[in-house]
Assembly symmetry: C2
Homo-oligomer: 344 residues x 2
């Protein structure tokens, strides 16, 4: 089934995509359909705002990314930013720039992925903009979140002797991307429809194609009575993000290679590709795990939480940012994370 | 002077563009530089959210639109949506997708236009996303506004016998676009650097290249103690917007051709192009004037406000939406406004 967009026009398309949306949050007073959405933030809260712009060919490749997964991921990466402030995502606006090569059914798949993510995380779609694009697909999502007054966690609060913690594991999303890129080359080479072999690598694909935001970690930290001194999500790579925290907190850090959390599949894939797995964990982006610091007095509390790994500690700024390797050598951390504006 | 973007990278560029930004609004608690901005809405207010996606080749043509004007307009059209809810714009996020053909100085011009608009309207830039684009320039702006609790004006409140009002005049921005397109063709045809002749048509160009949002009208209405029953801004053309109000309010309307507000320059240009000036006023688009309805009991109050024109009245839904021409004929209104998803 392939229905051309022109048969519906802008308003018909918007109606089709947003059909049956019902607000889940009491703060959503008026959603899609007017010049602006109207929100009523709960008293005693502050409002968080984050936004992401995703462009075809730069942030995603539709050769191997299904549109529904793309929609899901586009929403989740915004939720991740809100959790990284110690907040809860409540509303998003969704702007799409779409070229004629897409049909209504494809846009429903994309929007369906966004709606699925919103359902999973309790977020309302409250507005957006839909327009044609002369070239690739453009997705711009803005997320509005809520945090109890004074409870937001910034990047600039890390103090000397604080422990550096990471949720989940690192490098798997990057390995998933390598895997997809490899299969793409193989397929292009043969010109045949070969079913790619991803057996034993499902976790890597899932991390790349359907990442989740760590709402569970934020909840566990709250339950344990831990308030991080600094926090951010890892989208561009651990090294790069850690350096943001250190720069903004006027601090240095030491992290330990042996403590970097790495999944078995990530290690196997790195081996296959002849890559250093620690480098992947440090610089591979799109993990969407949380990186945060806690006072050393919270050591026992945080060490008891499943899914959190202590990887090092904060130092005086003069000591710089360094990685201690397994054999005890010290290397200065470099931000080699993904930087679309420096690429060739 | 032409500095390549790659010399600064993403974070260097963001620092350069956002340098010296200082929040003007007490509700802006934390702006650029973390995972999300933190806002503290004033008590007794509701939060408004609107967003616009602008794509090169679809919404603007850099052949004749200076980047600074483009930035100004991209911000102002969002402010216009907030005023159209009877609110005040307070914050924006700015996402840019930029190709390598742009240099730092050009992006400074674009961002400078956005900053100028923010200064003029008292709005803070609190975040955004900057990335490379493989093709054209992409601008996505989300605006956060504030309105006193219960004072938001929607599109759905128009009642039978309400008066239909329009601010300013209509069709000039569309004529400005025609003028620019005509000069572009002339210039392309000769292949020469001819200075285009815009004498006597400055107003049309200004309306197209540097529109303003009608904050002044919102203030005058408040001072006069008038609360519109329905309101929106005219971005796609009067006909199209009026039909939105009527559909959402379950009403019909009668508007009068002789009351359509049209500037002298608009009329002259329409004549030159052999176009019907009323059609331009009805379907032109990008006017960013306010269209609103008020109870008939407010007739004298609203009639006393300079810059507001009464163009008709709301009827029962069964009567449909119609234009009464100068010679007394009745024509059904059609939404022929700009619709990028229906274009060929």
């Amino acid at each position: 089934m392939r229905t051309e967009i022109a048969t519906l026009g802008e308003f018909g398309l918007i109606n089709r995509l947003t059909e049956g949306l019902t607000p889940k949050n009491p703060s959503t007073r008026y959603a899609v359909g007017d010049d602006a959405a109207v929100l009523t933030p709960a008293s005693g809260t502050e409002t968080l705002v984050t936004t992401d712009l995703l462009l075809e060919g730069v942030h995603f490749d539709l050769t191997y990314v299904p549109l529904k997964h793309l929609g899901y991921k586009a929403a989740v990466v915004n939720f991740s930013d809100i959790y990284a402030m110690n907040g809860t995502p409540r509303q998003i606006t969704v702007s799409l720039g779409i070229s004629k090569r897409f049909c209504i059914e494809e846009l429903e798949a994309l929007y369906g992925g966004i709606r699925l993510a919103c359902d999973a995380y309790g977020v309302d779609i409250v507005g957006g903009d839909t327009t044609s694009s002369l070239t690739g697909l453009t997705i711009s999502i803005t997320c509005i979140g809520e945090v109890e007054k004074g409870k937001a966690v910034y990047r600039n609060g890390a103090k000397e002797s604080d422990l550096i913690c990471v949720s989940g594991d690192l490098g798997a999303a990057y390995m998933g991307l390598q895997l997809l890129e490899r299969e793409k080359v193989v397929l292009n080479g043969t010109g045949q429809e070969v079913q790619p072999d991803f057996a034993g690598k499902e976790y890597l694909l899932e991390r790349q194609l359907k990442p989740e935001a760590r709402r569970d970690i934020i909840q566990k930290l709250a339950e344990a009575g831990i308030r991080p001194t600094a926090m951010m999500d890892i989208s561009d790579g651990l090294s790069s993000e850690l350096m943001h925290i250190c720069t903004q907190s006027h601090a240095g850090c030491r992290i330990y290679e042996e403590h970097l959390p790495i999944d078995y599949q990530t290690a196997v894939m790195a081996e296959e590709l002849n890559m250093n797995v620690s480098t992947c964990a440090l610089n591979g982006g799109e993990d969407y795990e949380l990186l945060f610091t806690v006072p050393i007095s919270d050591y026992e509390k945080v060490d008891n939480i499943e899914g959190i790994r202590l990887i090092g500690h904060i130092t005086k700024p003069e000591l710089g940012c360094a990685l201690i390797t397994r054999d005890g050598q010290e290397f200065e951390l470099k931000a080699q994370g993904w930087n679309p504006l420096k690429e060739d």
